[in-house]
C-alpha cells in the first residue's frame, strides 16, 4: 500500500478503471470507488480520504452538487478536490471553482498530467 488515500467518484466503470490505472502508475493504490455523489457520501463513513477525484456529470448527485455538499461538512471542508471532467468555457471553470473544487483536469489526461495536478493540490508534508 502506498501513496495517498484517494476517493474516486465516477459513474462509468470503464472510466474508473482507467483512472485507477493512471493512479497506480503514479504510485497511488489506495483508491475507494463510488458511482455518484450519493454513493460517495455513504462510503465516506469509513473515513476521510487525502484527496477526492470527482467526475462532473453523474446521475442522482452530480459532481458539483457532491463537491458543494463536501464543502458544507466540517470534516471534509479542507480535503483537496480535483474535478475530472471536460470543462471548456470560463463559465464552467468558474462553476467548478465556486463549488469548492481545488482544481480540475480535462479528460482525456495522461498519468503525468494527473500527477502534476495532485502534486499541486496535495503538497508533500
Amino acid at each position: 500500500m502506498s501513496g495517498l488515500k484517494i476517493m474516486l467518484v465516477d459513474d462509468s466503470g470503464t472510466m474508473r478503471k482507467i483512472e485507477k490505472m493512471s493512479l497506480a502508475k503514479i504510485g497511488h493504490d489506495q483508491v475507494t470507488e463510488a458511482v455518484n455523489g450519493v454513493d460517495a457520501l455513504a462510503k465516506l463513513k469509513e473515513g476521510a480520504p487525502d484527496l477526492f477525484l470527482v467526475d462532473w456529470n453523474m446521475p442522482e448527485m452530480n459532481g458539483l452538487q457532491f463537491v458543494g455538499a463536501l464543502r458544507g461538512m466540517a470534516e471534509f471542508k479542507s480535503v483537496p478536490i480535483i474535478m475530472l471532467t471536460t470543462v471548456n468555457t470560463q463559465d464552467e471553470i468558474m462553476a467548478v471553482m465556486k463549488a469548492g473544487a481545488n482544481d480540475f483536469l480535462n479528460k482525456p489526461f495522461t498519468p503525468e498530467a494527473l500527477q502534476e495536478k495532485i502534486a499541486k493540490v496535495c503538497p508533500p508534508k
Binding site: 459513474d11 472510466m15 482507467i18 456529470n57 471553482m97 482525456p108
Partner: protein, 745 residues
C-alpha cells in the same frame, strides 16, 4: 493521422493560469510566487506568439510590482493582470484557429502516445476522419471490451429515454439521460484513443446540451439527429468489438454524413419542425412493415416474445429494426392518432359573424322564454300549445349551448405565452423559475382570453420579479433554488377559475400597511384582516416596490389586474403566507355574452346582480344593524362589519322596504370593499343577454347595462364595483342620496 499537436491553449496552460489567478490570495507570497512561475512557463511556451507574449510580459511586470510593494492599488493592478491573461487567451485562440500549422511551432508536445487523441480534427483532413482506422496500438483489450459493454448499457438507457421523448419532448430527465450517455462515451473513448467515436459522441452531446439548455426543442429534425447518433454509436461499438477480434476498424455507413450534420444542423436545414410524411396503418409494427423497415414475420415473432416491455423496445432489442426506424414509426403513429381524433374538417368564420350569431341566439332564448311565460300558454289551458312551446324551449337551449361552444377556446394558448414570459423574466432577473400549468384544456370565451391576457402578464411579472426570491435567498430560506409558479384553470360553480400561485416570499403585510398609510389609502390597519390588507395592492397607484425594475414595475400597481378582471365581470382574491408564497384566484363568468344573474326586486323595479359578484344574501336581525358616525349604516355578519347600501335610495325608488330586517341584504364586492345591498326580495336566477344602455343614456354610475327580461320588460344590470364606489362616494361626501339617479320604466 495527426497524433501530435494538442490544443494550443491547453499547452500554454493559460486557462490554468486564469484559474490560479481567480483563487490567488493577494497577501500570500506563496500564491504570488506560484503565479509568477506559471507566467514564466507560459511565457517560455508563447515564444512564437508575439502578441500573447506581449500581454504575458505586461502581466508579469504588474505582478512584480505587487510583490515588491511598488503598486499603490494592488487590487486594481490585480484585475489588470486578469485582463491581460484574458487577452492572452483570446490572442492565442485567434492565432491558432486560422492557421493550423502554428500548433506545430509550439514546443512541449505531449508524450507520443496514440492514447492521446487530438481534441480537434486535423484541418488537413476531410470533415470526418477517414473511413478505416486501426485500433490504437497500445490498446488494452480488456479495457476496450469493458468500454464496449458499458457503452451498450449507456446506449440502451439512451434508447429508452429517446423513445419516451418521442411522446413527451419536454421530459428533461430523459434529455439528461441521453446527454449523460453521450458524455460518458465521449470521455471514455477519448481516453482509449477511439477518435471516431469520441468525436461523434462529442457532437451529439453538444446537440443534447442545446436541448438541455432549452435552446432547441427535442422534436422534428433534432430528434432525428439524436436518434441517428445513437444508431451510429451503437454500430461503432459493434465495429470496435469486431476490431478486437482482428477485423479492421470500419466506420459505419452514414458516419460522415451524420458527423457533418451534427456540426451545424441548422445549416443543413434541420429544425424542430422538419417531420416525415405520415402514412396510414396504426400499429408500430404495421408502420415498420409498411415503410419496408422490417418484415412482418419478424415483427410477429417479436410480438410473441415481447413480454412486459413495450413493443418498440422489443423490436430494437431483437434488432428487427433500428432505433431510428422505431422512433419514426412511433411518431407517425402519434400523428395518425391525433389526426384521427380531429378528423373533422374545419372552416374559418369571421368573428363578427360569430358574435352576431351568438347575440341572435341569446335574443331567441329570451324571446322564447317570453312566449313560454305568456299567460295564454301558462293559464290558457292549451295543453298542446304548452307542450309545443316546451319542446321549442329545449331546442333553443341546445342551440344556445352549441353556439356558445363555437366561441370557446382552451387556455392553452394564453398559458403558453406565460411560459415564454416566465422564462424570459426569470432569465433577466437571474432567477430560476419553473412554470407548471394545469387545466390548459379548460375552455373560455374567446373574447375574454384577450382581455385576460394583460392581467395575467402583470401577475406573472409581479410573481417572478417580486414574489420569487433569487436562488441564493431561497437556499438560505431552506427552499429549492428553483422557484415554482403554478398556473391553473378549471371550472367551478358555473365560473372559470384561474389560479396563479408562487412559492416565493409572499406579500409583506407590514410593508403594504406602511405604504397604504403613507399614501392616505387607509388611516391604520386596525381591524383589517390579512385578506383586506392584501387587497389594498389593487388600489390605483399602489406599489410597495421602492425600486421600479425595467421588467415589471413601471410604477403602475396591480390595479391594472383589478381593472381587467372587473371589465370581465370577474373577481380576484389573494391568499398569501409569509415565506411560503402567494396565490391569486380569479373567478370569471364563462362568457360575456350571457350573464348569469340574480333577479332582485326593489320597489317596483327589478335589477340583475351578476351571480359571480354575489357572496351570499341574508336577512339581518335588528341587533346586527348599527349606524356609526362618519361611516354610515353598517351590518355585522360573522364578526365582519360592512357598510349597508340601500339600493332604493341609491336609485331613488319609491315604495321599497325601508326596514332592513324585513328585506334582504345581498353581500357583494371583495375584501375591504365588501358591502351589503338592501333589496326587497330575490326573484330567482336568470340568464340574460347584457346590452349596453346605448349612446343616448350613456354611462350610468352603478349600472353596467340592461337586459330584456322574460316578461319583455327591461331590467338593469348592477355593476357591483361601480355601485359600491358610488355608494361610498355619497356616504363619505356626506351628501344625501341622490334621487332619480336613474329611472327607467
Amino acid at each position: 493521422m495527426n497524433t501530435g499537436a494538442p490544443d494550443s491553449i491547453e499547452s500554454l496552460n493559460l486557462n490554468d493560469l486564469a484559474t490560479l489567478l481567480v483563487r490567488c490570495d493577494l497577501t500570500s507570497t506563496d500564491d504570488s510566487k506560484q503565479l509568477r512561475e506559471s507566467l514564466n512557463v507560459a511565457l517560455a511556451k508563447a515564444s512564437e506568439l508575439p502578441r500573447v507574449r506581449e500581454a504575458l510580459e505586461s502581466a508579469t511586470h504588474h505582478l512584480d510590482n505587487i510583490v515588491s510593494g511598488a503598486a499603490s492599488d494592488p487590487a486594481a493592478v490585480f484585475s489588470e493582470i486578469g485582463r491581460l491573461i484574458e487577452t492572452a487567451i483570446e490572442e492565442s485562440e485567434g492565432m491558432i484557429a486560422p492557421a493550423g500549422n502554428i500548433t506545430a511551432a509550439i514546443p512541449n508536445p505531449p508524450p507520443p502516445s496514440a492514447a492521446v487523441p487530438p481534441t480537434k480534427p486535423d484541418p488537413a483532413e476531410s470533415q470526418s476522419p477517414s473511413a478505416v482506422e486501426q485500433l490504437p496500438a497500445d490498446a488494452d483489450a480488456g479495457l476496450m471490451g469493458e468500454f464496449v459493454t458499458e457503452g451498450y448499457e449507456y446506449i440502451e438507457g439512451a434508447e429508452a429515454a429517446l423513445l419516451s421523448l418521442e411522446t413527451n419532448p419536454d421530459d428533461m430527465e430523459a434529455v439528461n439521460t441521453v446527454f449523460r450517455a453521450f458524455h460518458t462515451i465521449k470521455g471514455t473513448s477519448a481516453f482509449l484513443g477511439l477518435v471516431a467515436i469520441s468525436e461523434l459522441a462529442h457532437r451529439a452531446e453538444s446537440l443534447l446540451g442545446r436541448v438541455r439548455d432549452r435552446e432547441i426543442r427535442f422534436t422534428g429534425g433534432y430528434a432525428d439527429l439524436a436518434l441517428r447518433a445513437v444508431d451510429i454509436l451503437k454500430a461503432l461499438l459493434q465495429a470496435i468489438q469486431e476490431a478486437l477480434g482482428g477485423e479492421p476498424l470500419r466506420r459505419p455507413e452514414g458516419y460522415g454524413e451524420l458527423f457533418g450534420l451534427l456540426e451545424n444542423p441548422e445549416a443543413a436545414g434541420i429544425s424542430s419542425e422538419t417531420v416525415p410524411e405520415p402514412i396510414t396503418p396504426l400499429r408500430v409494427g404495421d408502420i415498420l412493415v409498411a415503410e419496408g423497415k422490417a418484415r412482418r414475420d419478424e415483427i410477429e415473432m417479436v410480438a410473441v416474445d415481447q413480454g412486459e416491455q413495450p413493443i418498440g423496445m422489443a423490436i430494437i432489442k431483437s434488432e428487427t429494426a433500428s432505433l431510428t426506424d422505431v422512433a419514426h414509426a412511433l411518431r407517425t403513429q402519434q400523428q395518425i392518432a391525433s389526426t384521427d381524433r380531429a378528423v373533422d374538417s374545419s372552416m374559418r368564420v369571421r368573428t363578427d359573424r360569430l358574435d352576431r350569431l351568438i347575440d341572435m341566439v341569446g335574443e331567441l332564448v329570451i324571446a322564447q322564454s317570453m312566449v313560454a311565460q305568456d299567460s295564454t300558454v301558462i293559464t290558457g289551458g292549451h295543453h298542446g300549445l304548452a307542450k309545443k312551446v316546451g319542446h321549442t324551449g329545449k331546442i333553443v337551449r341546445e342551440l344556445q349551448d352549441l353556439s356558445m361552444s363555437m366561441r370557446m377556446v382552451p387556455f392553452k394558448g394564453a398559458f403558453q405565452k406565460m411560459a415564454r414570459l416566465t422564462r424570459d423574466l426569470a432569465h433577466k432577473n437571474g432567477k430560476q423559475v419553473d412554470l407548471i400549468t394545469e387545466g390548459e384544456d379548460t375552455e373560455i370565451d374567446r373574447n375574454m382570453v384577450d382581455v385576460l391576457n394583460d392581467p395575467l402578464v402583470h401577475m406573472v411579472r409581479n410573481a417572478v420579479d417580486h414574489g420569487i426570491e433569487p436562488p441564493d435567498s431561497r437556499r438560505e430560506a431552506g427552499k429549492s433554488p428553483v422557484g415554482v409558479l403554478r398556473l391553473a384553470a378549471y371550472h367551478a360553480g358555473g365560473n372559470v377559475v384561474v389560479e396563479l400561485s408562487d412559492d416565493g416570499r409572499g406579500l409583506n403585510r407590514e410593508k403594504i400597511i406602511k405604504k397604504a398609510v403613507a399614501t392616505g389609502v387607509i388611516e391604520s390597519d386596525k381591524g383589517m384582516s390579512d385578506r383586506e390588507v392584501f387587497n389594498l395592492i389593487f388600489r390605483p397607484g399602489f406599489s410597495t416596490v421602492e425600486q421600479v425594475t425595467d421588467v415589471s414595475g413601471r410604477g403602475v400597481g396591480m390595479d391594472v389586474v383589478k381593472r381587467g378582471i372587473d371589465a370581465l365581470r370577474g373577481r380576484v382574491e389573494i391568499d398569501s403566507q409569509p415565506g411560503r408564497g402567494c396565490t391569486f384566484t380569479i373567478r370569471l363568468p364563462l362568457t360575456m355574452a350571457i350573464t348569469d344573474g340574480m333577479l332582485v326586486r326593489v320597489g317596483l323595479q327589478r335589477f340583475i346582480i351578476p351571480t359571480v359578484n354575489i357572496h351570499l344574501s341574508f336577512q339581518p336581525v335588528a341587533g346586527a344593524l348599527s349606524t356609526i358616525a362618519g361611516r354610515g349604516e353598517m351590518v355585522m355578519l360573522r364578526d365582519e362589519l360592512m357598510p349597508v347600501f340601500r339600493l332604493h335610495r341609491l336609485f331613488g325608488i319609491q315604495d321599497a322596504i325601508e326596514d332592513a330586517t324585513r328585506g334582504l341584504l345581498v353581500v357583494i364586492g371583495d375584501g375591504d370593499r365588501r358591502c351589503a345591498l338592501l333589496v326587497d326580495e330575490l326573484l330567482g336566477q336568470q340568464q340574460v343577454v347584457a346590452k349596453s344602455l346605448g349612446g343616448g343614456i350613456g354611462n350610468v354610475p352603478g349600472v353596467s347595462g340592461g337586459a330584456i327580461l322574460g316578461d319583455g320588460r327591461v331590467g338593469l344590470i348592477i355593476d357591483a364595483p361601480g355601485v359600491t364606489a358610488l355608494a361610498r362616494q355619497l356616504a363619505t361626501s356626506g351628501a344625501e342620496y341622490v334621487t332619480g339617479a336613474c329611472s327607467l320604466a
